[in-house]
Symmetry: C2
């Protein structure tokens, strides 16, 4: 498998590659300073990375006395990783290079009513096509980051939800996609991946604490604090779609009452549109099981164009999302809330404006610091990009990601979180 | 000042002391293995700690070949730290030793209607009395961890709330208490401290992710994940008392609607009791501004004794707290919820039972893992103990805790949080 060598590398190689990526060009002496590693270690690691073709020399820098220093840079196209965002209504596939730059993207229909296996075969077919088009050799692909909704069992690589359909609950997604593609696969939460993707793309201040609210056909979330992802016990965190905004509210399919997604998610907005006489026909709404995103986008476009009924529906939804965001900010002490995912890609500005007003007026810590509402820089692609970044970083900074046979990127336990000190 | 030497120590000393504390007795060779430091470093650090009288030799262990190894242990009473939990209705003061064991405790009335300065002088008087009674020399006290409600500005050591009274908002609590006591002081959130105290006391699994709901006269919270405190942007996190459970609910004094504390906090429970004809008189409820805890305790005792009206009031409150706990668990992916603080000390079992039932039935991740509801092991003292632990750990593991003049424990920036890796 392509990654066996990379996985066998010690952690120092990942640190050095990360530093080179961040600096674009850097000398060995600067690597010693930045890494805290010894000169001898840097010399050895750099030689091995040069031998593997992951980095190359890039001329010389003026030195402050002494001989000029040789600069090093990544060979961006030496390796690639793949991100796949998959849910019932949508699937986005991206390829990024070693430098973290987007190389290619494509989209296909989501899982819909297909079986998991059919769906994964379709994903693999589209990925093959994408690699061919982008001239990316399979042997240079480090792995696939598959991201989907929670709850999930990251250890076994399975969804623990009957969404998209009952057959997906407990299906060995990770094993199957590895078998079909011949590539290592890791599974993660789509909203967590979107939060990571947004960080990677530069959509947020790196030192900030931000929450990502991810709205595709459902609503999820992720929190990153000063460059660290909040994971919790089993990486099933920030499930903001199932936070209740009404203790006496309607029962959600999750079993709780008054959940955000139940009142404000795309399906609730569409149901609202269907209750307005004539609106559904006027906007051309359809009734397929996998039409949620298409229908929501039609409502969003009409609202953006100033159509008052669709606008009223989105404002009603935004009021709930804002209220949930206030709670998220009070619990996670956020500097910013980023709106990502397909549904915010089409209607984000309406939500952002309404949310900013409410956060400024009633956020608990509004006198301590503002909470800024931001639109995702990558919109619909953030989750897929985050999935690809997770592979890139897992690969280059290996921790506990190896199977006993050393061949896979699979997480052998819930994502290793570097412990925060109790004095934090 | 007593702590100048300790503060000047490098981080290695704190690591070694923490390892010795955890192991109770440990040899130099075992310290090398456990710390990852070199043998030469351990030799030097151990010599300095012996010279400072912080540790002592404690006999020899059988060795596996070679000469027997000398064991080291803490001199528990070589240093002490103080924790002060202070709010409107209550104040608890504790002293712990270098081993983290409780040496002495006392309680006094809270801030009430007194000015900040009067209150801090009273705290200092009580502390003097406690040190005298417990035979703790001032010169051996490393500092005071003062914990109170949020929001706070940890950088300047001030509360950013008009609670207990307007005069407290922005008052230089930390500077004043340092001036009055001559001891270094750090300020932190009481609920965060309670979460840390509970960890320290052994009330939770060290590797678990748990939320602490802290109910004294108000409701706050803290989250610890695998030994790391979640801090967020400015350490004003987990303000669960002001998370909304009803988007169309009554306006809370924080400005938001439908807040947990507004419906379920001790003052809401007392107000409920006052609306039941004759109950207030029967339970002997009083009407002073600082009687919240006393009155709540009277209601709680009656409920615990099976009095149906008080029981109904607490069940109503517990229903809200449980609903908020479900949201907290969904967002932070918790393994456990710990109930701490004076109000749960008197009525915790009623809350715990109701909450466990609701979490088992409707928690989002209930199929992934259970969320266990636990009563604090230290009840009313958890926050004060946490305050003392914060000083102990800050002192022994110094990070960015020095003023430019190197003399204080004050946080020079929001609590330093060790970054979680983006791949976490």
């Amino acid at each position: 498998m392509a990654t066996a060598t990379a996985l066998a590398r010690p952690r120092t190689h990942g640190i050095v590659l990360d530093l080179i990526r961040a600096a674009r060009t850097i000398s060995r002496v600067e690597l010693v300073e930045a890494s805290g590693l010894t000169g001898a270690t840097i010399t050895n690691v750099v030689r091995e990375l040069l031998d593997d073709g992951l980095i190359e020399e890039a001329g010389r820098a003026e030195s402050t006395g002494g001989k000029p220093r040789t600069l090093l840079r990544l060979r961006a196209r030496a390796r690639f990783t793949v991100g796949v965002q998959l849910d019932r209504c949508s699937c986005t596939i991206v390829i990024i290079d070693l430098a973290g730059q987007l190389v290619a993207r494509t989209a296909m229909g989501g899982a819909g009513l297909r079986s998991p296996r059919e769906t994964l075969i379709a994903v693999a077919d589209h990925l093959d096509g994408l690699m061919a088009t982008a001239d990316v050799q399979r042997s240079l692909v480090l792995g696939i980051g598959l991201v989907s909704q929670g709850p999930q069992d990251l250890t076994s690589g399975r969804l623990l939800t009957g969404n998209p359909m009952g057959a997906w609950h407990g299906y060995p997604l990770l094993d199957e996609l590895e078998a079909i593609t011949g590539l290592p696969v890791l599974l993660d939460n789509d909203a967590t991946a979107a939060a990571i993707g947004e960080f990677w793309i530069g959509g947020v201040e790196p030192a900030s604490t931000y929450g990502c609210i991810y709205m595709a056909s459902g609503i999820g979330g992720g929190v990153v604090s000063r460059g660290g992802v909040y994971r919790g016990g089993t990486s099933n965190s920030v499930e903001i779609g199932h936070v209740s905004l009404d203790i006496d509210g309607e029962t959600c399919e999750c079993g709780n009452r008054g959940c955000l997604e139940h009142y404000a998610g795309p399906e609730a907005v569409i149901a609202g549109a269907e209750r307005v006489p004539g609106l559904s026909r006027r906007l051309g709404l359809t009734h397929g099981d996998t039409d949620t995103l298409v229908n929501f986008t039609r409502i969003a476009r009409a609202a953006m164009a100033g159509d008052p009924e669709p606008l009223r529906l989105l404002h009603a939804s935004a009021r709930y999302v804002a209220h949930a965001a206030i709670g998220l900010a009070s619990l996670f002490d956020l500097d910013a809330v980023v709106l990502a995912g397909q549904s915010f890609a089409s209607a984000g500005s309406i939500y952002a404006e309404a949310m900013q007003t409410q956060l400024d007026r009633t956020g608990f810590a509004r006198d301590v610091h503002p909470v800024q509402v931001l639109l995702s820089k990558s919109g619909a692609d953030a989750a897929a990009i985050g999935g690809a970044v997770l592979v890139l970083r897992s690969e280059l900074t290996p921790r506990d990601l190896r199977r006993p046979d050393g061949q896979s990127l699979r997480y052998t336990e819930p994502h290793p979180v570097r412990d925060l000190p109790i004095t934090a």
